[in-house]
């Protein structure tokens, strides 16, 4: 919250063009509208912090892979970063609403503030910094994923995912089996080689937090590491015609033993 207040003072201490900066800040915070704005701002910041910390994680499905975990962290982190900004915006707006003018004639003229150079500069710089944080965080995460995909490529399980209009099928070439369900062993890196036999689809194993389009005669690749046992929902995330909504199936992250058993009972061989 202090972060929010200090940003606030830096925004408005140039408005009162008089004594020392310290006095100006003090004077500014003696103003009733500033105090009220601060209170509203803190309230709204708190709303967004609660949303980020408690509500978002509840909405998101259980993370079953490294990528999903990273993604949930980003959702929470970005909400927390946005919270003071949202708090400031909504604080000013709420203060203005409580200060509204009623009646059928226009209100008296307010102060003729044409602009305020430092405020514009500080605002731009601060939003630039937040933007930079988001960009750097995102790029680092992309980089981590790309590195993981490269380093684990050798040991990874390869699954060929084929989208056909309105049904997914999965081919485990090394194991020599095919299935309509996506079965994955725990903690083993997996590479999905995704393609389509007709229109565009989008392969989305929900709890794994990754997604890639399926294109005709193209193989698009995604990589992840399932790290939790449980059920996976596989969906199509690109409108693909009549039964797009029904292009869903399930799968499971299982122990290596269970996975090998599943492979052999379906006529494949462990690889």
């Amino acid at each position: 919250m202090s972060e929010h207040n200090s940003e606030h003072s830096s925004e408005h201490n140039e408005l009162d063009l008089k004594p020392t900066p310290g006095q100006r800040a003090t004077n500014l915070f003696k103003r009733k509208d500033v105090q009220r704005t601060a209170v509203f701002g803190i309230f709204w910041t708190a709303v967004f912090v609660v949303l980020g910390l408690y509500i978002y994680p509840k909405w998101m499905p259980e993370a079953m892979s490294t990528d999903m975990k990273a993604m949930e962290k980003i959702m929470v982190g970005f909400t927390l970063i946005s919270a003071p900004i949202a708090g400031l915006v909504m604080g000013i707006a709420t203060q203005a609403i409580t200060n509204r003018h009623k009646g059928n004639t226009p209100p008296p003229d307010g102060p003729a503030i044409r602009t305020n150079g430092p405020v514009v500069v500080v605002w731009s710089v601060v939003s630039g910094i937040f933007c930079l944080i988001a960009v750097v965080w995102g790029i680092m995460e992309v980089n981590t994923m790309a590195n993981a995909a490269t380093s684990e490529a050798g040991t990874a399980l390869h699954v060929q995912v084929t989208g056909s209009q309105w049904v997914w099928s999965f081919k485990y070439a090394d194991q020599g089996i095919e299935s309509d369900k996506l079965m994955l062993p725990l903690d083993r890196p997996v590479v999905f080689d995704v393609t389509s036999v007709d229109v565009n689809h989008s392969f989305w194993p929900v709890q794994l937090g990754v997604k890639v389009d399926a294109n005709r005669l193209q193989t698009t690749v995604i990589h992840t590491v399932p790290n939790k046992l449980g059920r996976i929902d596989v969906k199509c995330a690109e409108l693909c015609g009549l039964y797009h909504a029904y292009m869903e199936t399930t799968g499971e992250v299982m122990t290596t033993t269970d996975f090998n058993n599943w492979v052999t009972t379906n006529g494949g061989h462990v690889a």
Partner: protein, 621 residues
């Protein structure tokens, strides 16, 4: 030019009706010629039932019919009489030009090829409201069908069509919702012009757009469009005959936006009143001009994408068919090179309206005019460099996701400036809570939510999860509907007195406002949750785990629907019987409030001279 310097408004020469063809043409003759053209083209090209290339030939015949309808209508309404007469060396007489401007024709001029920018503005306003009503009704049907899982209310074929038609109807309506009515009616008066730079092109832009409406509606009778408004290839190549309606609509609409965009830009550049330097131009004019100027380079790529879809469907050219070396990614690129600027084409005028309104209702100058211009320019500039963020997960060159993430997130900086301008203007003011001002506060909230959720979606790892989910749907409705449409409705409430001479019924306006805004939050809160939980978008049915979220959404949607019906009543009722508005009900300082209602044919008796910007409110100004 219909701008006649010499004619005083009192002596109106009426052309001899027997003499000139232009007096006999109107919407009806346009429709007749259009239908003749369409039927003729269809029967000339229609394939035999046993044609081996039946589908290609059918697509050809339908496309030709639709485009011929548009051309025929324009011929029939007299759109080409001016150029034709000029071509044969018999340019229109002053009387005929005055007639074309709708002088002294009362309500009839709204159904004619009328060059008066105020008539065109009203035509756009009514057209946009009709389109929003149709698009909104489709939204109600989509939400009704999604109220419970199972897709029992509406079958998959019809549902998919609803999704696409709702999308494209709303996108088209939203592109013109501000620049159409207000850009045409208000903007020329605001800059002190007598009319647009090219009045005939102005009429053309409206009537071309008008011809797209029946074409789009015909999709319903041709089996619908199963592709969503993005019309991704190759699904669009596979789609049935209804797809032709979509293609023809875009081809026609792209012509309209190009014409309107050039006209508005030229008007603002060339026709400003004496003394109206660039830093004295009202901010709405700046925002609207940047919006249409952005549309000029954007829409041709959509047009090209559709031309290629059409040739794929008619001649099997295979631009998007991987089997013969084409690629669906080509379509996605062309589409989103238009698609992302288009989002800002919609958004900028909405925000610009609010910037115009806020100083008036707070009685303070616009806070940092330069920041506002920079914000608009920054968004417009960056928006052409971000398109591939719609393709993070398409598999197309994943290494380029990083750069596109950078440009996308950079947009948050100029967007932040827009917030700063609005907030700086209300800061320390006492906002006068009339309808337009309420809209401004609603937009602050909605755009904030839309903006923050946009930051998640611009992030590659987060988009890996969220792309194609209901979360995206909720996000862009917050920006396009919550921000841009609310801004446009605020503009309607603000300029209603100037456009109709009457005040918009305030009580109905408030009721509508609260129904719409509260319903909107409920509607898209439910959708955010369902999306974050993993419900894909554009699905006719969904798993039981999303049922409460969807039911909540549907409830909210009904509230929004009722709110908008109330608004429609308020508009119709107030237009007919509302309180007579004074010349300047809000005490604003822009030029449009200096002219009476009805606004004279050439707006100003004496050309205005500008000595300052229109934001001279406040003590000590």
């Amino acid at each position: 030019m219909t701008t006649l310097q010499s004619t005083s408004s009192h002596s109106r020469p009426i052309p001899n009706p027997a003499k000139s063809l232009i007096t006999k043409l109107h919407m009806g003759t346009g429709a007749v010629v259009g239908i003749i053209f369409a039927v003729g083209a269809y029967y000339a090209l229609r394939p035999a039932a046993d044609d081996p290339n039946f589908y290609n030939q059918q697509n050809k015949a339908l496309l030709a019919a639709m485009l011929s309808w548009s051309v025929g209508f324009l011929i029939g309404i007299g759109a080409f009489i001016g150029p034709f007469r000029w071509l044969i060396g018999k340019d229109l007489t002053a009387e005929e030009q005055l007639y074309l401007a709708g002088d002294g024709q009362g309500i009839k001029r709204y159904f004619k090829y009328c060059t008066d920018h105020k008539v065109v503005g009203i035509q756009y306003l009514v057209g946009v409201m009709a389109m929003l009503a149709v698009g909104g009704s489709m939204a109600m049907m989509i939400r009704t069908s999604l109220a419970v899982p199972g897709g029992h209310f509406i079958a998959a074929t019809i549902y998919n069509s609803l999704v696409g038609l709702h999308g494209i109807t709303m996108i088209v309506a939203m592109i013109i919702v501000a620049t159409g009515p207000f850009g045409n009616y208000i903007m020329p008066i605001m800059i002190g012009a007598r009319d647009m730079a090219f009045p005939r092109l102005n009429a053309l832009s409206w009537w071309v757009l008008f011809t797209a409406i029946p074409v789009l509606c015909s999709a319903w009778f041709l089996g619908g469009i199963p592709t969503g408004w993005t019309a991704y290839a190759p699904l669009s190549v596979q789609a049935g005959p209804g797809m032709n309606a979509f293609i023809a609509t875009i081809l026609i609409f792209a012509v309209s936006t190009a014409v309107a965009g050039m006209n508005i830009t030229a008007t603002v550049v060339a026709m400003r009143a004496k003394g109206m330097k660039w830093n004295r131009v009202p901010i709405f004019v700046i925002g609207a001009t940047m919006s249409v100027a952005l549309a000029i380079p954007a829409f041709p790529t959509f047009m090209l994408a559709m031309v290629q879809t059409a040739t794929d469907r008619v001649f099997n050219t295979g631009f998007y068919d991987a089997n013969v070396g084409g690629s669906g990614w080509l379509y996605a690129h062309l589409f989103w090179i238009m698609g992302h600027p288009e989002v800002y084409v919609i958004l900028l005028p909405g925000i610009a309206i609010l910037m115009e309104i806020t100083p008036v209702f707070v009685r303070k100058p616009l806070f940092s005019y330069n920041a506002a211009v920079l914000g608009f320019a920054g968004i417009a500039g960056l928006s052409v460099l971000v398109w591939a963020h719609h393709m993070y997960i398409s598999g197309w060159t994943p290494t380029l996701n990083g750069p596109f993430m950078v440009t996308t997130e950079m947009i948050s900086v100029p967007t932040g400036l827009l917030f700063l301008v609005l907030l700086g203007t209300v800061w320390r003011g006492k906002p006068w809570m009339k309808l337009p001002m309420l809209g401004m506060f609603a937009v602050i909230w909605n755009f904030l939510i839309g903006g923050i959720t946009g930051i998640y979606l611009s992030d590659v790892p987060a988009d890996n999860y969220l792309h194609g989910s209901m979360y995206v749907t909720a996000h862009f409705h917050y920006t396009l509907m919550g921000a841009a449409l609310t801004g446009a409705v605020a503009g309607l409430a603000y300029w209603f007195p100037k456009m109709t001479g009457r005040m918009l019924n305030e009580r109905a306006g408030y009721i509508s406002f609260w129904f719409v805004q509260i319903g909107f939050q409920i509607l898209f809160l439910g959708m955010f949750i369902a999306g974050a939980e993993g419900q894909p978008r554009r699905v006719v049915s969904f798993a039981a785990m999303y049922k409460y979220q969807n039911m909540i959404s549907t409830g909210g949607a009904y509230m929004v629907g009722i709110g908008f019906i109330v608004l429609l009543w308020a508009v119709i009722h107030s237009w007919r019987k509302g309180d007579i508005a004074p010349m300047n009900p809000w005490g604003a300082k822009t030029l449009e409030w200096t002219v009476p209602y009805p606004v004279p044919l050439e707006n100003f008796d004496e050309a205005p001279v500008i000595t300052s910007d229109p934001y001279g409110y406040g003590k000590g100004n």
